[in-house]
Amino acid sequence: MEYILHLAIIVSIFAILGVSLNLVVGFTGLLSLAHAAFYGVGAYASAILTRSYGWDFFPSVLVGIAVAMFAALLIGLVLSKFDGDYYALASLGFSAIVYSLFLNWRGLTRGSLGLPGIPRPEIFGMSFSEREFFLILALLCLILVYAVSRWIERSSFGRVLKAIREDERALRVFGYRTLLFKLAVFVMASGMAAIAGALFASYTRFIDPNVGLLMDSVLILAMVILGGMASLKGSIFGALFLIVLPELMRFVGFPDLVAAELRQITYGLILILLMLYRPQGLLGKYKL
């Protein structure tokens, strides 16, 4: 039972990441591999504030969101100079830079030693350290993120994002300053990713630079593509599928020693197979 709770929490956290990345990749067509970096920023911000400065969880998350959004603003500005393939590569580069920051800014992050002893959240005096309660917290965050994303999707802004994905140059002729829209969605998505990061840090109670790793960006992207581009519901399924599947594999008897690598291979293979046989994913109506 504990195990299922654990899985549910992890799935919720990654679902938040999937839904938010979908706004950028699925709706706007920006192939960003930097998403995990903002997740990492949120994790570190919240961890540092709660563990070293005794902040409450909620305010620490707000700071995490703010820092991630600021970073996204800067990174997004640079990324906007690129398009298509180069965008992906550049975002990959930023992912690596942020990882490097986590690793080397030892004064702030303790580098590869990581940050242990992150407290479980306490909000308005209520403690969320029990798994059941934490799951509720995680689900509430997911619902919040999902609701905001749906709202974005249904607004005129959402329609503009899709048009950017379809033909940005033509859209500009009709009076849209597409750069601002791209920046806006990138920044909003990064804020959501930061929430996931803060949740993760508080749940696992320990983080290290690997939290912002490129591989996680690839994983999240796989979730978005698998679930279906521009399908927010799909991203939740994508998260469910890609978290649960490797766990099932463990039951089938794959050695734990190579578990991490096998997981990577699974994700990579799924991406390749999806591209070959079903680029629109499970619930998506839009092909990459």
């Binding site: 607004s155 899709k162 033909d167 002729v173 009076g175 849209y176």
Partner: protein, 242 residues
């Protein structure tokens, strides 16, 4: 809303696509632009609509120097266009293709706007006008070639323009569709809109143009009253020779 083009030029790798072109387009008139392939007609529309930056010269519209205006703002002055290679938002519905042109342009404004009754009504009107009302929920990518061109026309109307640049709007259309487009263009002209019409179909050019410009190798070869211009020796030469 006169468009005044002054010494406009654009070159690519040393080739002058548009070479010192000066023209005037009056409001409430249709100016046809013809010429052999590569004569610079489409490049001219790209320059006028801000898709390409100019290398030299100026475009003045309604007293505003469009060449100094940021590309995405050109439409604010009422200039709109169709594309020779029809550029629609493929994986969006016909209705959404129009809605995106009818709704708020600002980031914050659009974030807090949900399309309302009046937007939907307007979209429906426009689709009716071009004969696409049955295709409202169809994805643009699934439309036939002719239907795609009609959608582009509807999109132009949605912009409520003061000037329209039509780039080969009739190519590949069935006769019934041609009639629709002809009536739309005439209606715009009667409303006082300044119209540029690039077209290869000479019959339609003769029927529609109040004024005709012939381009060749990036320059204006001749201009004037359509029948007169088309009878000129050097114009015929350009078409046969090119």
């Amino acid at each position: 809303m006169k468009i005044s083009v002054q010494q406009l030029s654009k070159h690519f790798d040393g080739v002058h696509a548009v070479d010192g072109v000066s023209l005037t387009f009056e409001s409430g008139t249709i100016t046809g632009i013809v010429g052999p392939n590569g004569s610079g007609k489409t490049t001219l529309t790209h320059l006028l609509s801000g898709v390409l930056p100019v290398d030299g010269g100026a475009v003045v519209f309604d007293g505003v120097e469009l060449t100094r205006v940021r590309p995405h703002e050109i439409s604010f002055y009422g200039v709109t266009r169709t594309f020779q290679s029809v550029r629609l938002f493929e994986q969006m519905s016909v209705r959404d293709n129009l809605l995106v042109v009818l709704t708020e342009r600002g980031v914050f404004a659009s974030l807090f706007e949900r399309h309302g009754e009046r937007h939907l009504k307007r979209a429906q009107e426009l689709l009716l006008r071009v004969g696409l009302s049955g295709k409202r929920d169809e994805l643009a990518v699934n439309l036939s070639y002719g239907q795609r061109k009609l959608l582009e026309i509807a999109r132009v109307l949605a912009m409520d323009p003061k000037a329209v640049l039509f780039d080969e709007p009739f190519a590949g259309l069935f006769p019934e569709m041609v009639k629709i487009v002809v009536s739309v263009i005439k209606e715009l002209r009667d409303r006082g809109v300044t119209i540029l019409l690039i077209e290869h179909n000479m019959e339609l050019i003769r029927e529609l143009s109040d004024h005709l410009v012939v381009m060749d190798a990036g320059r204006v070869l001749a201009q004037g009253e359509p029948d007169g211009v088309l009878a000129r020796g050097d114009v015929i030469e350009a078409y046969l020779g090119g």
